[in-house]
């Protein structure tokens, strides 16, 4: 079923393709918990991680995922390499392409840059985040976490809260959750809400109480201070007061609602530290665990398609 040559975003995926990735990822998650070593379907393949933007957790997650599947993994910190010497993205891609990697994992600060790169190389490309556009493996790992916690991935009410405007995680998530027929609410101050978002089949509100009401899942986003080029909120303390998630605001959600965060967290800005650590409500650690499983599944499926 999974026919894609690349994983550039959630937008091109069919719901059945999403399900196939999640099913395979689930088996990897289970075998990891059971302490089993997986067979090595990527043995002999070369995976290159190109991160044009700083990342610790995503890069580590992709590296571990590739190594568990037997791939030879190389990570390049692009900020300190030829890019500094004025080489264009396409030239970098062509150079790398000539070395014949099998899988290319790319993060880039500009929207659409990974699509552009994928047009120029022969190997499978995985988007590890491009600008404010998409971050598909994050949405997939969130989906897997929700499915394992809630037993299903449809007809759930999911509140995505905070800095929607600067978030590629929000875009990929709202597309994925919409495709799987969930009710998605976006909650945040209007200055952090992108234009036209109400036309994307989601509910939009700037009131946390209304946004969280009867939600099954509360997904908090990081306040992306590094992407802000002006005043979007008056202060972090007012933001925390109105939009930060704490135990009191969470009472409006369903009693068994789970709390998610893509990390890294700003404790005391968008989420209360104690709540983030509450193992009865927060699934943040499980999200990280599912990240490795989902990336293993995505890379294996792409490698299979490449092998034909």
């Amino acid at each position: 079923m999974f026919r894609q040559p690349h994983l550039l975003g959630i937008e091109p995926l069919h719901p059945l393709e999403i399900t196939e990735i999640l099913d395979l990822a689930d088996t990897y998650a289970e075998s990891a918990r059971a302490g089993e070593r997986p067979h090595r379907p990527l043995q002999g393949l070369t995976q290159v991680n190109m991160f044009f933007e700083n990342s610790t957790r995503t890069q580590a997650s992709f590296e571990i995922a590739g190594k568990r599947l037997g791939a030879d993994v190389m990570s390049m910190a692009m900020q300190t390499s030829s890019v500094k010497k004025g080489e264009t993205l396409i030239d970098t891609a062509m150079t790398l392409n000539a070395m014949r990697p099998d899988l290319l994992v790319v993060r880039h600060p500009q929207s659409g840059a990974v699509d552009l790169l994928a047009q120029k190389v022969d190997c499978a490309v995985l988007n590890a985040g491009d600008g404010r556009h998409e971050h598909p493996t994050q949405a997939l790992l969130d989906a897997l976490t929700i499915r394992r916690e809630k037993g299903r991935l449809h007809r759930l009410t999911i509140a995505i809260c905070g800095d929607i405007a600067h978030s590629r995680v929000a875009r990929s998530n709202l597309i994925l959750l919409g495709k799987m027929e969930n009710r998605v609410r976006l909650v945040g101050p209007p200055t952090l809400m992108p234009a036209g978002v109400a036309d994307l089949g989601v509910e939009v509100t700037d009131d946390m109480e209304e946004g969280l009401r009867d939600a099954d899942v509360v997904m908090m986003l990081r306040l992306q201070r590094e992407r802000m080029d002006g005043a979007f909120i008056p202060s972090e303390r007012e933001y925390y007061h109105r939009f930060g998630l704490d135990a009191a605001k969470l009472t409006h959600a369903k009693p068994d609602a789970i709390v998610m965060h893509p990390g890294p967290m700003n404790r005391g800005v968008e989420i209360d530290g104690t709540l983030a650590d509450d193992i009865n409500r927060s699934v943040i650690q499980e999200q990280v665990e599912m990240g490795v499983a989902v990336r293993m599944a995505a890379m294996e499926l792409l490698a299979r398609n490449r092998a034909g």
Partner: protein, 417 residues
């Protein structure tokens, strides 16, 4: 030397009529019908005044690798453009009589007529005004900083007041620069899905309203280069109704393409201002039809391959258009939006009149600047066949209708057999 065009479908934008008939030219001018030394059998194809393309960027001085006067002139001839009115946003900008004289001497390489606008402020930096008087004497037709906006209203008001005293025409890019900064598409659902930073069409209205207030204050002759959305139209209509000396243009790309054409980050569709929503496109066409918008131009902006082969946000804006202006405009004709005389008024008569040029008419005594074309001839555009050095057209691979068969400048044939 005289030539008689026989059996032509004559497009007369001044009378607003089309008629089947003959047209005679002699010594570079249109004359009364009669026998001639040479006959061009038109076979019912359209004969119209040559296009006057207002706002062409040629890479001289400074970026000759992108476009020279020779290559731009050839593209113009092939596109039925008999007069190019060039922008001063060169490197260095045309902000002194000396640089203007240099550009004018190079322009002689073009097979069509070339005129120049000069910068309104030195280095187009929005600080000090240029030598408007000297530049007028040196042949500048109008004054503009291109897509750069003079942010300081006090400085702009002084420029306008000074220009007014000399009767100079000022061309402005009506956008609020603090809103457009850092954006590359029009805001909305599409921009959000693509993760691109968008600007509201309201920035155009704000820029226009500020400028019109200063026009009312100073009485200057003013032309807004590109009006591309509905938001600014009421202010423009009100200014014209109040009798201000105001005209406005728009780009052929904004009339024939919309924001969704950017699709998967296609950088050839990155323009300044960005492509608009379909509602705005239709409103702009309507405004051309009712005369609110006076001028349609190509805003020919050559960019080399390297400056377009980049992530969308980093890519250079602009599109070439001299050669595709006429076939693209035929979309508006075939779509039933505008008649041929209406199109020719906006692409020939109005720009010529506003800039004080001869042409834009088929009347006796007018210069024999003519284009013979077949409005129905279909073709698929291949960008590598364009005469421009730069090939950045958004119409690559597009199905077009309307081919230029011949172009005459001052009675001399510059394109076609």
């Amino acid at each position: 030397m005289s030539t008689l065009f026989t059996d032509a479908r004559l497009i007369d934008p001044v009378s607003g009529e089309e008629r089947r008939g003959d047209l005679r030219i002699e010594d570079g001018r249109i004359t009364a019908p009669g026998p001639a030394a040479q006959v061009v059998e038109c076979g019912g194809k359209c004969l119209a005044p040559g296009l006057v393309d207002w706002g062409v960027k040629v890479g001289e001085p400074g970026e000759r690798h992108k476009e020279s006067f020779r290559s731009a002139g050839q593209a113009a001839a092939r596109g039925g453009v008999t007069t190019m009115v060039c922008r001063p946003d060169t490197q260095p900008p045309i902000d002194s009589p000396e640089i203007l004289a240099q550009a004018r001497s190079h322009a002689e390489e073009a097979p069509v007529r070339v005129h120049h606008m000069a910068a309104l402020t030195k280095a187009r930096s929005g600080g000090e005004m240029t030598e408007i008087g000297f530049l007028l004497d040196a042949g500048a037709l109008a004054f503009t900083d291109g897509v750069r906006v003079v942010r300081d209203a006090r400085i702009l008001s002084r420029c306008l007041t000074y220009a007014r005293s000399l009767g100079a025409l000022v061309v402005a890019h009506p956008q609020e620069p603090s809103l457009t900064a850092g954006t590359c598409v029009t805001s909305g659902k599409f921009a959000t899905l693509r993760g691109l930073s968008g600007v509201s069409p309201m920035a155009e209205r704000m820029g226009l309203e500020r400028d019109l207030a200063l026009v009312e204050m100073t009485g200057v002759r003013y032309h807004a280069d590109q009006i591309t959305c509905a938001a600014g139209l009421p202010a423009l209509r009100a200014a014209k109704a109040a009798g201000l000396d105001v005209t406005a243009g728009t780009s052929i790309h904004h009339l024939t393409l919309n924001a969704l054409d950017v699709a998967d980050y296609r950088t050839f569709f990155k323009l300044t201002p960005p492509l608009r929503d379909e509602d705005d496109r239709l409103a702009a066409i309507e405004a051309v039809a009712d005369g609110t918008i006076d001028v349609i131009a190509s805003f020919h902006t050559p960019q080399d391959e390297e400056s377009k082969r980049l992530p969308f946000e980093a890519a250079a804006p602009g599109a070439v258009g001299l050669e595709t202006l006429l076939p693209a405009a035929m979309r508006l004709y075939h779509g039933g939006h505008l008649s041929l005389p209406q199109i020719w008024r906006a692409m020939s008569t109005n720009p010529a009149q506003r800039l004080g040029l001869e042409g834009g008419t088929l009347e006796e005594g007018a210069p024999a600047d003519l284009v013979l074309f077949d409005p129905d001839a279909p073709f698929v555009l291949d960008r590598w066949t364009l005469a421009s050095k730069a090939k950045n057209t958004p119409f690559d691979g597009a199905r077009m209708e309307g081919r230029v068969l011949g172009t005459w400048v001052g009675g001399r044939r510059v394109f076609g057999e």
